[in-house]
């Protein structure tokens, strides 16, 4: 949209700035550091925090508030520590979202849906959500029951709740259990024999947080292992379900690697922490059950480590090859 002087709202910047977090809007000198560090841009090339800030400070109200861009920021704050003007961009985005909601705009989604019949109202989802976007409330049909409700103004569709729900009542477009398993098994990958299943070379499944793949080049480098390694991107390492890991091991996969971001670089604030905790617990359980816990590993991928992903895979493969007696995991 071309800004025309008559279409510019001279009060927009002031309205953003009077909101908590919005106060630094106009100190932006458009250096582009945020745009170049932003993880969202790899998947949504249209997104550019610098441009959103600039449009807001010019007063392009319609363009900013109606744009899907302000809903794309997941408040991972990769940009905040690098901004030379110390602008807390995710908070500015939050202020813009508040304004957009006030003016009647809606967040585009996708949002998780709750099956209210199976939901037990246990509130595990509320504890895991980094954004306080989901939680139990009185059910619409039966007010005596508590069921999970999703706040569309806050949800950033990370899928942590989907993985956490013990009743399997939450589903989210594109990251449902079934869809992830389809990606694992595609092209008959599980039929090929790994070491556990008496094959010649190890077979490794890698669940990789999509934000920790910094560039297309890194993605291509991870593909060069061919059939040996199946790389499945997830919206967040916190989306990993331990049941899924055990299922893969029981089907003859030699090792499961989960790659998540570094603690302070998580795209969903504490999603990587959730993922890491799950894997550590699973390893403990495997050890008690007498299985080799080395078969499951959580690797941290720092954002400035371009070659990390392929290195993690190589290390995983090397570990698995040295394990003494393959003991097949069975789930009974």
């Amino acid at each position: 949209m071309t800004p025309h002087p008559t279409q510019l709202d001279p009060h927009l910047a002031a309205r953003v700035m009077e909101r908590p977090g919005g106060q630094h809007l106009q100190t932006c000198m458009a250096c582009g550091t945020c745009a170049s560090v932003c993880l969202v841009r790899r998947f949504h090339p249209v997104f550019n925090p610098r441009r959103v800030l600039h449009q807001a400070s010019l007063g392009m109200r319609e363009a900013v508030l109606s744009s899907p861009e302000i809903w794309l920021c997941s408040a991972c704050d990769a940009c905040y520590p690098r901004c030379p003007q110390e602008i807390h961009i995710s908070e500015v985005m939050g202020a813009l979202r508040d304004l957009a909601i006030e003016e009647g705009y809606q967040a585009p989604g996708p949002f998780p849906t709750v099956d209210r019949v199976t939901c037990s109202g246990c509130a595990v989802c509320a504890r895991v959500c980094p954004y306080e976007a989901i939680g139990p409330a009185a059910d619409e049909d039966d007010p005596s029951r508590q069921t999970a409700h999703v706040d569309h103004t806050r949800c950033l569709h990370c899928g942590l709740c989907v993985a956490a729900c013990p009743s399997g009542a939450i589903s989210l477009e594109a990251v449902n259990d079934q869809e992830i398993l389809t990606r694992v098994t595609a092209e008959g990958w599980l039929e090929r024999q790994g070491l556990l299943a008496g094959g010649q070379e190890p077979r490794c499944l890698a669940f990789v947080c999509q934000w920790s793949i910094r560039s297309d080049a890194a993605w291509e480098r991870a593909q060069r292992f061919g059939d040996q390694v199946r790389v499945v991107p997830l919206p967040c390492s916190g989306r990993v379900d331990p049941a899924m890991v055990l299922w893969a091991l029981s089907r003859g996969v030699d090792a499961v690697l989960v790659v998540g971001c570094d603690d302070d670089e998580c795209h969903y604030q504490r999603g990587t922490y959730a993922g890491r905790s799950k894997i550590y617990l699973l390893r403990e359980m495997m050890a008690t059950m007498g299985y080799e816990q080395e078969r499951v590993h959580f690797a941290r991928q720092a954002s400035d480590d371009r070659y990390g992903l392929e290195r993690h895979i190589q290390e995983m493969l090397a570990t698995v090859t040295t394990l003494p007696t393959p003991v097949a995991v069975t789930i009974g």
Partner: protein
Amino acid sequence: MVDAARHPNITILANTEVEHVDGFIGNFSVNLITKPRYVIADRCNGCGACAKVCPIEVPNPFELDIAPRKAIDVPHGQAVPLIYAIDMDHCIHCYQCVTACGKLDAIDFAQQPQETNVEVGTIVVATGFASFDPSVIPEYGYGRYPNVITAMELERLANAAGPTVGRLVRPSDGQPPQSMAIIQCVGSRDKRYNEYCSGFCCMYAIKNAILLKQMHHDMDITIFYIDIRTPSKGYEEFYTRAREAGIRFIQGRPSLVSEDPDTGNLIIEAEDQALGSVVEVETEMVCLSAAAIPQPDAEDLSAKLTLARSPSGFFMEYHPKLRPVDAPTDGIYLAGAAQGPKDIPASVAQGSAAASRAARVLSQDTWEIEPIVAEVDPTLCISAQGKKCGICARACPYGAIVVEQGQPATIFTAKCHGCGGCAAECPHNAIQQKHFTDAQILAQIKTLLQDRPEEKILAFMCNWCSYGGADMAGISHFSYPPTSRGIRVMCCARTDEKFVLEAFRRGAGMVLVSGCHPQDCHYITGQQVGARRFERLRTTLERMGIDPARYRVEWISAAEGEKYARVITEMDAVLANYDPAEIVRQNRQAAAQIARRLKKWNEDPRLVPIFEDLPLAQEVLE
């Protein structure tokens, strides 16, 4: 430098630190400590035979530790004076240098630090700047990736007299690079480190790029920048030349530099704003244009010379526009990057200006100062009665007051700048500032509040900022209500809290106390002395029953005419909403307590004519 060393009127005291400075303009006494060189200066002829035989090699700080030097060496080839010195931290006392020196017999291991004292009329501070250490910015990888260097290191690597004899090579493998990226604003224009613009990095980055391009035509050079700033004469043309020479300019501050472990090449991620998309550039070397920062010992030196420092840490000038060369302390002048980041032409200009400012003083037998100095009445000073006080000495930003118990406080008139802070702080009215005496100011308060005082706003303004701001409001034709009455003091530190109390006793509707913004104070710390007092006063007034809304403290600069008009308009609106009878009631209620606080003034024979129209404190209390 060689010319300076040969000049009959110039003495160079190298290897020497300022220990203590005393005195005032025209009469400074400077204590110096000359560190031992362990080489007798008069005997050393700079032949370098000692360095040749010295078996110890240590990192050479002049070459930014890229190259070695010997434990006995000169700082660099062009050093003036050219006298060798032993680095005792590394010397192993093999005495081979003594043998090599032979008949000259210049080496003396027994040398001790030498204390000297010089009497000088003026001092010029030209201590330069230091370079920001970019290793604190993790995303640029300096210190982690060998091929990321600073501009200073590039200067040495590309210098014909440098460690590589002018052959630019990569630190990782010693190969000449085919490509180079230069990143601007590293540690400057960055609130996390230094908010200011370093000023000259744009030009030296362009200069380095052009030099490299001239030496290596095929070299691929990219400059990442936020803004290119080329405001001086001929600079923009130079920038255009660089573009024409094929140097690539990308507007966008890189967010990450990462290293390819196999090749040692660096990948720079930035947003190219002209393209509106993220670019990844792979180069063989990265050069960071690190910010110019104050010397690490600037604080130490500012304490020794009573200098003020700007928020950025560089030494502050007396006035940014009108006296950009003078330090706030008379007789001390600033030159070059010690005052703020500067390029060579600006440093030379300021150096010449500082020399001529100093010559102006040195060429005269006497020096006139402003007559507004403070003086002590020894009969009132309680220090003379053997009591402990010294409040005035603590308030003085110039160290002009010396208090010894048993003696009245002494003010060195030549050091006094006339802020009046001591006069306001003295709890015993023992200090008066000439031309701004208590009697003079109280008479102004009395006159300005003679008629319908409850409708008036009495404003105390500092001469340099707020009074200028009020002037600016008038010059700019900003309209504001006609209810304000101004009293000028030199610094807000002179605004005694008792003046404010007296104003309320005289029935004032509102009181405004204003001064400079903290970093703009013309008397180094005068504003802070005032600000502390005005904050205390707020609670005092509240206790006395005067609504704090009727008392306001504002920092207004000489450029802020609009702010002055706004403050007065806002205060007038508060006043207009007040019932005048309520103002009179509050003032009457506080009168007794105020009278008690102003008791010393009531008893002062100099002030009797001013107070004769007021009922005596005793009567009010009854």
